[in-house]
């Protein structure tokens, strides 16, 4: 296959764009897509301080790498979730990345800083690990961004992540979640930091390809707690559709952003109050969901 732009040997085929690119022009395409998402949704400017949530996986490290290449003030936030070997390996990938690029990293350990790890929380709460994991990450992302006075929190969610979540939300008609699914979630004066997803124009295959070709060393192994997750099934279903009908995933997602999202936005109007324990914003009276779960975990142990 030849590069659509220069006729050289292509390293990737992009059926949804009816194109193939050599390494140099793939980098150009990839970075243009990130720039386009940032501009289209007015995500941030060069003066903004960005906190990038990194897991050691391809998407978040690629996002951090690209934002630094563009000259943005982007620091990383890594949360050690206490998932044995997986957390040790992912933490090492992040440390190597930071060292190689002289980047700034905020490091939080769920076990050391909050008194529990994800496997223990899942066992004690008798829930799937993704439930306490997601709750803890969302809480710590917001808290760290506020404490560090960052203007925006950026995550590595890509086109496949967002299309799979949209598919799940539509299957169940989760109108509240549909109202919150957008590339930008504006800050709330009640204490929620602005959140953005600059990789939403790129597929997982494209971020994996960019990582390999650009030498971004990421943890290839899957989180052992996420194996069998429903979003993985949705991604596989959407990829089966994509192979038969290239461009379906982006049409589904972009169509929702352009013509569907606004219809659900009213569903997200909720008042926030400070948690009586930690002061972080919550929709509940008294303790926020995070403090409630943490208190239960620490009490059960005592």
């Amino acid at each position: 296959m030849k590069c659509t732009k220069c006729g050289g040997r292509a390293v990737i085929d992009l059926k949804r764009h009816n194109s193939g690119f050599c390494k140099e022009h793939f980098f150009e395409y990839f970075e243009n897509q990130v720039r386009k998402a940032i501009d289209e949704f007015s995500m941030f400017g060069l003066r903004d301080r960005i906190l990038v949530a990194v897991s050691g996986g391809k998407d978040s490290l690629v996002l951090w790498d690209v934002l630094m290449r563009f000259g943005y003030q982007a620091d990383g936030l890594y949360i050690d979730l206490g998932i044995g070997e997986y957390s040790s390996a992912s933490s090492q990938k992040v440390r190597d990345f930071v060292l190689a690029r002289q980047a700034n990293l905020r490091h939080v350990s769920l076990e050391q800083d909050y008194g529990y790890g994800v496997p223990e929380a899942a066992r004690r709460l008798r829930r799937a690990a993704c439930s306490p994991c997601g709750l803890s990450k969302r809480y710590i992302f917001n808290r760290e961004a506020l404490e560090g006075s960052y203007d925006v929190l950026a995550t590595g969610h890509n086109l496949d992540d967002e299309a799979a979540v949209l598919f799940g939300n539509v299957l169940r008609w989760n109108t509240g979640y549909l109202g919150r699914q957008y590339p930008v979630l504006e800050e709330d004066p009640g204490g929620l930091v602005r959140k953005v997803k600059p990789l939403i124009r790129l597929t997982e295959r494209e971020t994996a390809a960019y990582a390999v070709l650009q030498g971004v060393d990421y943890i290839v192994e899957e989180c052992p707690k996420a194996i069998g997750a429903r979003t993985t099934l949705y991604k596989q279903l959407l990829n089966d559709l994509e192979i038969q009908s290239p461009g379906s995933k982006q049409q589904f997602l972009y169509g929702f952003y352009e013509r569907g999202h606004d219809s659900f936005e009213a569903s997200r109007d909720v008042a926030l109050t400070p948690c009586t324990e930690c002061g972080q914003p919550t929709t509940r009276e008294g303790l926020c969901a995070f403090c409630q779960v943490r208190s239960r975990l620490l009490t059960v142990r005592a």
């Binding site: 296959m1 990737i12 994991c133």
Partner: protein, 74 residues
């Protein structure tokens, strides 16, 4: 295990480590079809570059088929 001159060595590390030994010149597309893998969900790595589905693979070559689908969200 290095690739033998008489075969193509194909390996994956996730979701679990798997290896295959294939024989004879064939395209990446044909290899993925034999392994029942959707080209949309993987990248194919040879040395430090990527192979497109039409690329031909010869005996003596070693390729990694790497899943691009991650289950947990960042």
């Amino acid at each position: 295990m290095p690739a033998s001159q008489n075969s193509i060595r194909v390996f994956m590390t996730i979701p679990q480590r798997r290896e295959w030994e294939l024989h004879g010149r064939q395209s990446v597309r044909k290899i993925l079809r034999q392994l029942d893998l959707n080209p949309e969900g993987v990248i194919v790595i040879h040395h430090d570059t990527l192979l497109t589905p039409d690329e031909m693979v010869e005996n003596g070559m070693e390729i990694e088929v790497r899943s691009a689908i991650s289950g947990g969200l960042p």
